[in-house]
């Protein structure tokens, strides 16, 4: 970063608006890369707040957390420090499906993230309400030059990252009652929506919901099932070998026919069904009223009672997201085992908000309309802390890299779930809030939680996103993995290498240790790597063929100024889509819906011209 002199305190390299999961990762990444960064939030007490469920990880999401950590992000360390229950999901499935998840102490988590932000050199955290974006037109091209905050104060910066979550034109619904605001008890921001519209960005609306929270003192846990954490909790961060934590259990109870009848009787009062809300919500996280309408034949639905922390009795009722009126929410719990006397501390609500369809961004998350403007997180139509954090990190890194005239950080689909996420967003857009599923990744067997560090840390080290400690740890692990793999390949058992024997489904790691006692000293994470690599070897080799094919296509870059009009033989649909998305290369172009292999062949010809 070239040295700069600043006339006033309000000049920065990068400004991040919003200090949620995307904003904090963005600010941490850009400041770690040497950019002087300001993180502006309307409230310093809500930095890193978990607006919805008090949990991190899950299937697909847990892998993303491991990837963010491998790239030097905060989320993995924050949850390791503040988790109250750790579970590895999908243990009964193959290792590519193993997915870490943890319950967080919500308040502690938030404090931990805030602390990490405060400790970061180069980073200013400040309470400000941003009212407008400052844009300038240079040679007909818009670019961002800063923001204006409440009190008519200006912050100047050549890069601005918007991570405003659900706060743009936000409207909360509980039954017939409507309140302006992006989160219970908080306000909304309309100035930024206006600025984006003036810039010419399309905005659309999504809705999402959150369930009621109960007072644990009023729950009869004896009528529920216990769900304990794992005996040997596995940390999220590659910097931690083990976790020593006293875990808290969750509990499970169920809805029943009576509850369903009550909801059916009151459907007309649910904003989603009365027509009060007509924006799309996520199908994978339906409200309880949705579940009952769409799956009428199901006689019960599972509810998870998740503690919100060690120092509170508040309980998050996962599975009953709702915008039904208060009296129905109260009546509903009277009918659920264990919750008959439960007292609601916060009522559930649905929230509608503006998002900017992400096909308006390049694969660095920079706006195609205004240079220097980046968008990350829920404003891009995603849901989830993990998805938000991942985008934040990528946007923050790219903002700083661009200012330093360095190569951008673009992760590929065969390299990470984060690559899948961002490529999906900018190539296909979204028609419901986007959440990661492992089925979205075509190279899922490669993108495992156990090897995220091997996949991403070397790249992060090269960029300067991670420190020496992380790089050395990885080096050590890799050399242990390699020597163990060599040993297995060169030790013969029943006439063939042990590695071949290990490929059989019924053979386990302990069988290897029996043959080669020196393997017993191998660290658990290293032996897991060796085992999984060997077990999946055949499939990975097969996937590699397709990966190579795609990377050859990716090598064919399409210049930003490419004129699709001049490719006269392109079909109208393909031309329109390509002009709108402006893919960076032929591989991305081939993933746009409506673009055929013949269109790609045509582009090959014209690119070669």
């Amino acid at each position: 970063m070239p040295a700069r002199t600043y006339q006033t305190a309000y000049q920065y390299d990068v400004i991040v608006i919003g200090a949620g999961h995307a904003g904090t990762e963005a600010a941490l990444a850009s400041s770690r890369l040497g950019a002087r960064t300001a993180l502006l939030t309307t409230n310093c007490d809500t930095v890193g707040q978990m607006s919805c469920n008090p949990a991190i990880g899950g299937v697909g999401k847990g892998q993303i957390v491991r990837e963010i950590d491998a790239l030097g992000g905060a989320i993995g360390q924050a949850i390791d420090a503040t988790g109250i229950q750790f579970r590895m999901l999908n243990r009964r499935k193959g290792p590519a499906m193993h997915s870490p998840r943890a319950q967080a102490d919500k308040k502690l988590y938030q404090a931990q993230v805030k602390r990490m932000v405060e400790e970061q050199p180069n980073l200013t955290l400040r309470q400000e309400a941003v009212e407008d974006l400052l844009l300038e037109k240079i040679n007909g091209q818009q670019r961002i030059v800063g923001v204006r905050v409440r009190g008519d104060v200006t912050y100047e910066a050549p890069a601005v990252i918007l991570t405003t979550g659900t706060f743009l034109q936000a409207l909360m619904h509980t039954g017939e009652e409507k309140t302006s605001g992006g989160r219970a008890g908080e306000g909304t921001s309309s100035g930024i929506s206006g600025a984006l519209e003036r810039l010419g960005m399309r905005l659309q609306r999504f809705k999402t919901g959150t369930p009621p929270r109960l007072n644990g003192r009023t729950i009869d846990y004896s009528k529920t099932e216990l769900q304990p954490g794992d005996d040997a909790p596995q940390p999220f961060s590659f910097l931690n070998d083990t976790l020593s934590v006293e875990q808290m259990p969750c509990h499970i109870t169920y809805t029943n026919e009576q509850v369903h009848q009550l909801i059916r009787d009151n459907l007309s009062r649910a904003p989603m069904y009365s027509g009060q809300i007509d924006s799309n919500g996520p199908r994978y996280c339906p409200s309880i009223e949705d579940k009952i309408v769409r799956f009428a034949d199901k006689s019960q639905h599972q509810l998870f009672l998740e503690p919100e922390g060690r120092n509170t009795l508040e309980v998050y009722v996962n599975g009953v997201s709702t915008s039904l009126p208060r009296d129905v929410q109260d009546a509903m719990f009277r009918l659920i085992p264990g919750l008959e006397n439960a007292e609601i501390m916060r009522y559930g609500y649905a929230v509608e908000y503006d998002f900017a369809p992400p096909d308006q961004l390049t694969n660095t998350l920079e706006s195609k309309l205004a240079g220097g403007l980046y968008l990350a997180g829920q404003i891009n139509g995603t849901t989830g802390y993990e998805e938000a954090g991942a985008q934040g990190l990528v946007a923050g890194a790219n903002a700083a890299l661009k200012l330093a005239s360095r190569q951008p950080l673009v992760l590929t689909r065969d390299q990470s779930y984060i690559g899948v996420l961002i490529d999906d967003l900018v190539t296909c857009g979204v028609d419901e809030p986007y959440r990661m599923f492992t089925s979205r990744a075509e190279y899922r067997l490669l993108l495992r939680q156990d090897n995220a560090d091997r996949r991403l840390t070397p790249l992060a080290a090269k960029l300067g996103l991670v420190g020496e400690d992380r790089r050395l740890r990885l080096e050590e692990k890799v050399s242990a993995v390699e020597s163990a793999t060599n040993l297995l390949e060169n030790t013969y058992y029943q006439g063939s290498p042990l590695s071949k024997y290990l490929r059989r489904p019924e053979v386990e790691w302990s069988d290897m240790v029996e043959q080669l006692p020196e393997l017993a000293s191998l660290a658990h994470d290293a032996s897991t790597q060796v085992l999984n690599d060997v077990k999946y070897a055949g499939y990975i080799a097969r996937q590699q063929v397709e990966i190579d094919r795609q990377s050859r296509l990716s090598a064919k870059r399409i210049p930003g100024s490419f004129d699709y009009e001049k490719v006269s033989q392109l079909r109208a649909e393909a031309r329109e889509k390509l002009t709108q998305i402006r893919p960076a290369d032929l591989s991305q172009a081939s993933r746009i819906s409506g673009v055929t292999p013949a269109d790609i062949a045509l582009l090959m010809v014209y690119l070669d011209r």
Partner: protein, 474 residues
């Protein structure tokens, strides 16, 4: 399907319409020579893979096909082991005796050795990318790529597979549902739902395996590679089709005229067509006169609409119940009787627009082919046009034979994937490797291959199915 230029691609380079002296099968790509070495025995001591300069190598191609016994065919291999070939990649041309079944078997052999069938225009695309031809030349061929991309596959499928694409569509749908259930089980670990049991999965996979096997067998018995291309005369009543037919038969007949009865597929309409085998410059054709179309006009005629797509007519010739292709359609319009808009010159490779009765009203301004059966004028040019169209159509367009082969290769690969999935299903226990994520990988391979035959597969399909079938999410 992509146009990856690092793949080894295979195609017949000579028109399959003729029984010419030889047929050329071409293989291009970085490992073209390696691929040849897998199925070719050179006469004398030649190390194929250490060739440095381009060379003609006599030897034998070892055919490996499903149906036939191992068979060695004498042929010449012209090998360009370097980048000085037409495509700037290693290239091999096999010069075989001229018989369509043989060249198709050669293509199949090379595909089994690791090549894949070239897409329409793909050799030309590589020649362009290699700098061998200029854009104008490439554009002409790219037009063909675009046109043949989907429609020709549909058309070819309809004709050779009549009744095959439906069960395959159904199968694809069943496999997608199966995949959705597997994926739901993988992605929604916390749900209290058993998405699919091993038993149900096993049964479903077994059924899929049986369907694929059956389809493959059907496809094999419908191989059309040995058939003679058909040239169909169409046009309005009294356009002079029959006169033209008679004249062509008179001049080019290979045999004593032997009209055969043909049957249309339109229910309740049995019509007779005239057909005759003719031979032009050594190319055998079957000429079909759609006499009786006068009455068919009233009913939407399937022979005509199908001919529009370049599709098949049912033929009972020689007692065969096989379906055949109309490789070429000659659309006759009587000159001087043009009403409304004048017929446009047909750009499609499978159609020739012809003005008949030119002796009555010759119109020199028309750029269409004209002929007169009365004077015999224009017949030579028509005949040359027929040959040209057949030549142009076959090697780049999606011929029925190559589509059959493409389908068979894809279905075989789908079948293999389902077999592997079945093995995994039976061997892997819960929690062991060999679990659902691998079965899912096999299912995806099978779906991709099926998609090449009946249509593309998109990821969102699977998620849509998951969400419509299961109540998921907290």
């Amino acid at each position: 399907m992509t146009y990856d230029i690092q793949d080894e691609i295979v195609a017949v380079a000579t028109p399959s319409s003729g029984h010419g002296a030889r047929a050329i099968v071409r293989v291009g790509g970085p490992r073209a020579v390696e691929l040849l070495a897998n199925c070719f025995t050179a006469t004398g001591a030649v190390e194929l893979e250490s060739l440095k300069a381009s060379q003609r190598i006599p030897g034998q191609l070892r055919l490996s096909c499903d149906s036939s016994k191992p068979l060695a065919v004498p042929c010449n291999a012209f090998v360009w082991p370097h980048d000085r070939s037409y495509t700037r990649q290693p290239l091999v041309e096999l010069h075989l005796p001229g018989a369509a079944p043989l060249s198709n078997a050669a293509v199949e052999t090379l595909c089994r050795a690791g090549g894949r069938l070239a897409q329409a225009g793909e050799f030309t695309l590589r020649a362009f990318l290699g700098g061998r031809i200029d854009l104008t030349q490439a554009e002409a061929v790219l037009g063909v790529i675009d046109a043949s991309d989907r429609t020709s596959l549909d058309a070819a499928l309809a004709q050779l597979a009549g009744g095959l694409s439906k069960p395959l569509d159904l199968l694809r749908n069943q496999l997608l549902n199966l995949l959705a259930e597997l994926e739901a089980g993988l992605d929604f670990a916390d749900e209290d739902i058993e998405f699919i049991s091993r038993d149900v999965l096993g049964t479903a996979l077994q059924e899929a395996e049986a369907t694929l096997l059956e389809s493959l067998q059907q496809l094999t018995t419908r191989d059309t590679s040995s058939e003679t291309p058909q040239v169909v005369l169409t046009g309005p009543p009294n356009a002079g089709k029959s006169s033209l037919f008679n004249l062509l038969v008179e001049r080019y007949s290979r045999e004593a005229a032997s009209p055969a009865a043909l049957v249309s597929e339109v229910a309740g309409t049995t019509r007779d067509y005239l057909s005759a085998a003719i031979e032009i410059d050594g190319h055998s054709l079957r000429l079909i006169d759609t006499a009786g179309q006068e009455t068919l006009r009233a009913v939407p005629s399937d022979i005509e609409t199908k001919a529009d797509l370049g599709i098949a007519v049912a033929s009972q010739a020689a007692g065969s119940t096989q379906k055949q292709t109309a490789a070429l359609r000659i659309e006759c319009s009587p000159a001087g009787e043009l009403r409304g808009s004048a017929p446009r010159r047909e750009e499609k490779t499978s159609v020739i627009s012809l003005l008949t009765k030119a002796d009555l009203a010759a119109d020199p301004t028309q750029e269409l082919l004209t002929c007169s059966s009365f004077t015999g004028a224009g017949i030579e040019r028509l005949v040359q046009a027929i040959l040209q169209k057949l030549d142009a159509g076959e090697p780049t367009g999606e011929g029925v034979a190559s589509t059959a082969l493409r389908c068979r290769v894809s279905l075989e690969q789908a079948h293999e994937a389902i077999i592997s999935a079945l093995d995994l299903c039976h061997s892997g226990g819960e929690g062991q490797l060999g679990g659902e994520e691998l079965i899912s990988a096999e299912l995806r391979t099978a779906l991709d291959r099926l998609g090449e035959v009946v249509g593309a597969v998109y990821n969102d399909d699977v998620l849509d199915r998951v969400f419509s079938q299961f109540c998921i999410g907290k």
